[in-house]
């Protein structure tokens, strides 16, 4: 009896949560996929009607803006956060004084909710309240910084706020990575008289490759899912210039009574996430098998 229990206990314990995940994650993914092939409006309907929702989706100029924004935002957000995080981490790694305090300061934005970040930056970037009016007040009458109300540049303000929020976290990841590099190799290089910059570019950074990958995955899924930052910062505006797929989906599902459109955009979003995550999982699993 006890033998049987010992053998099966893990399965019994994990069983319920496994079933719940099957239903509430994969079950609802399947449901959403089904709905995306129907003409559902206000309430879900279950008669399959082909790819009509996907046709409408890709004909919609608003979706085009949302997808373009996702790529602009995702690319810049990930790139700048990683570069900035890496540079700050390297500077903090120079055995400086009050490193603990500085680290906390840089990491602190991560503790804020994105809604707070968005609202604060909305005020900072507002040309009549924030940065522009302050600098004009100092006497620089020609200074303008009105990206937040300019439809061509508004998406970059989302990048600014996002980077401000996330780069501290990336710094913490990289700092941990820097500290885990084998000190013996660095010392050996220093003894050989290798310049510091070259130590970083040739030894330390390449040995941190897994950290880069983790940081990328974390940032990429943050970018694809981002919703609250846009809602708080620009409300998707001016017009719909800062719409992202997530805000598009929300509008269709909850404001416009167009569940079919919402479902098809959700499926596209999921495919984008898969495109990022699946290669990562694949490489992880393959490495395990090799060992």
């Amino acid at each position: 009896m006890s033998n049987w229990l010992e053998k099966h206990l893990p399965k019994i314990v994990l069983g319920p949560s496994f079933l719940v995940i099957i239903l509430f994650v994969y079950g609802f993914i399947a449901w959403t996929a089904w709905i995306s092939f129907t003409r559902s409006r206000l309430m879900p309907k279950y008669d399959i009607d082909g790819f009509i929702q996907y046709q409408r989706l890709f004909d919609s100029p608003r979706w085009e803006v949302a997808i373009d924004n996702l790529f602009i935002f995702g690319f810049l957000f990930i790139l700048i956060s990683m570069l900035l995080g890496l540079v700050i981490a390297i500077f903090l790694d120079q055995k400086i004084r009050i490193e603990g305090a500085l680290r906390t300061i840089y990491l602190y934005p991560m503790a804020l909710s994105l809604i707070v970040t968005g609202t604060a930056w909305k005020w900072i970037l507002n040309p009549g309240l924030g940065l522009e009016s302050v600098i004009k007040g100092w006497g620089f009458k020609d200074f303008t910084f009105d990206w937040v109300i300019n439809p061509d540049f508004a998406i970059y303000t989302v990048v600014i706020a996002g980077v401000w929020q996330a780069s501290g976290f990336v710094m913490a990841l990289f700092l941990a990575g820097l500290r885990s590099v084998d000190q013996e190799i660095i010392k050996a290089a220093q003894v050989d008289g290798v310049p510091t910059l070259r130590i970083y570019t040739a030894i330390i950074i390449p040995s941190m490759a897994p950290i880069f990958l983790s940081a990328f995955i974390v940032l990429a899924h943050l970018a694809i899912k981002s919703f609250d930052l846009v809602i708080a910062l620009t409300g998707g505006g001016p017009g719909y210039a800062t719409d992202l797929p997530a805000t598009y989906m929300y509008t269709m599902a909850f404001s416009r009574g167009d569940i079919g459109q919402a479902a098809s955009s959700a499926i596209i979003m999921m495919l984008v996430v898969f495109a990022v995550v699946v290669p990562y999982l694949y490489s992880e699993l393959r490495n395990k098998n090799d060992q």
């Binding site: 409006r41 206000l42 309430m43 409408r56 004909d59 919609s60 100029p61 608003r62 909305k122 507002n126 040309p127 009549g128 309240l129 009105d146 937040v148 109300i149 439809p151 061509d152 620009t234 409300g235 998707g236 505006g237 001016p238 017009g239 719909y240 210039a241 509008t251 909850f254 404001s255 416009r256 009574g257 167009d258 459109q261």
Partner: protein, 415 residues
């Protein structure tokens, strides 16, 4: 045989048990009137309902301009347990009817003679395939232009009667450092200004063809190009910080003389009155240049409910909503006017008098039109497609011709 008897017996016990548990009329009411004046208005209905022996279950769901309430409603209908009355308006009433969720309250309507006390076009929204399925609460007018009286007076201007006059006044005020148009850059506010302009420039027939019938000819017409041209001109009258501003902040700009005009529905009046401003003296109200009347009618749709206590509650509620007393008290609180045309308006202010007179006149003249921007004329997807175009045009340097082309494409795509 035996089975049939058991079924019959069971059925009798069931009906018996429902009639035994009957405890007077009951109604659960889903709404999103939760802020100050609105909450007070609902409390009036609640009080009247319990005075008539009903027990009221309040289900306020605030947030997202009703989006949150609609999500709650969807869940309730899917689980087969809909509230008796839901704050719904315009074509979404018919949309819910098509889902098979609405009840028929024609007997209440007939007994209380609704069809003769409500304007015909408003009554039309309350009917689903000829049967009454909703009760109207109020009429908001959308095409209002509000102005700061002293700003206009000290500069020697009156309320504009045509759009050219508006443009000239706005230009002159702008030269003096006054913001001509207080506006908040949110999509629905852009759409509100747009439909007032469209009605003013195109007239009632054009508005009806374009935004009710979605007639392609009207949508592609030169008139539509002119409407977008005027929107481009209006963009120049807006201050730099308008992006994302809430409508009540724009109203405050008119109140304190920072800006001269605002184009907004009559809920803006509530802001003026709450700040102790007097209509005619501190602020002026007039319909936007042009003919017609754009209405936004709040109403309660009646959902199918089980049990005679709930059905009785629903009928009582419907009767009270269209009752004279509630129509008066609610609308005094909310800034709108009664949907009934036979309510005495002594206690209402002069803007409400203008509104009521215009409503009756335009109802006779056939220029009483549903507001597209506030979800009265079109279903969500189509109205949204128009708003997307309007806001994209207003917030960029798109040409009017491109905007018209985009509008036609967006409407095609939303069907």
């Amino acid at each position: 045989m035996f089975n049939k008897i058991t079924v019959a017996a069971l059925a009798t016990t069931l009906t018996l048990s429902t009639s035994i548990s009957y405890a007077g009329p009951k109604a659960e009411v889903l709404h999103w009137w939760t802020s100050g004046g609105e909450a007070k208005s609902v409390a009036v209905l609640q009080k009247e309902f319990s005075e008539n022996g009903g027990s009221w279950t309040d289900m306020p769901v605030a947030g997202g301009g009703g989006d949150a309430a609609m999500t709650a409603l969807r869940a309730r209908v899917l689980s087969g347990n809909a509230p008796a009355a839901v704050q719904l308006k315009g074509p979404s009433i018919q949309e819910w009817y098509e889902e098979g969720a609405l009840a028929d309250i024609s007997d209440v309507a007939k007994k209380n003679n609704w069809s003769s006390v409500l304007p015909a076009s408003i009554a039309g929204h309350m009917k689903c395939e000829g049967k009454w399925c909703a009760a109207p609460v109020n009429v908001h007018r959308i095409d209002w232009i509000w102005a700061n009286a002293s700003v206009l007076k000290s500069n020697g201007f009156g309320m504009p009667k045509t759009w050219d006059e508006f443009n000239a006044t706005a230009k002159a005020l702008q030269a003096k450092g006054i913001i001509p148009l207080a506006h908040g850059g949110q999509a629905w506010q852009d759409a509100t200004v747009f439909e007032a302009v469209a009605l003013g420039i195109g007239g009632a027939n054009f508005f009806h063809d374009a935004f009710v019938k979605l007639d392609k000819k009207a949508l592609q017409s030169d008139t539509m190009v002119k409407v977008f041209d005027q929107m481009r001109t209006m963009r120049g009258f807006v201050d730099k910080n308008f992006s994302g501003r809430d409508w009540n902040l724009a109203t405050a700009m008119v109140m304190n003389g920072e800006a001269a005009f605002q184009i907004m529905g009559d809920w803006a009046k509530g802001e003026f009155l709450a700040a102790g401003k007097v209509p005619g003296k501190d602020f002026l109200c007039a319909s936007t240049p042009g003919e017609g009347f754009l209405y936004n009618v709040d109403s309660f749709a009646m959902f199918k409910v089980k049990g005679s206590d709930r059905q009785d509650g629903q009928k009582l509620l419907a009767k009270l909503i269209v009752g004279k007393n509630f129509q008066k008290v609610f609308n005094l609180n909310k800034g709108s006017i009664p949907a009934r045309t036979d309510v005495a308006l002594n206690e209402f202010d002069q803007c409400a008098h203008v509104s009521a007179a215009d409503m009756n006149a335009s109802s006779v003249g056939g220029t009483l039109l549903p507001s597209y921007a506030h979800g009265m004329a079109l279903r969500g997807a189509q109205a949204g497609a128009i708003t997307d175009t309007v806001t994209a045009h207003f917030n960029s340097d798109m040409s009017s011709k491109d905007a018209v082309a985009m509008l036609v494409k967006a409407i095609d795509n939303s069907k």
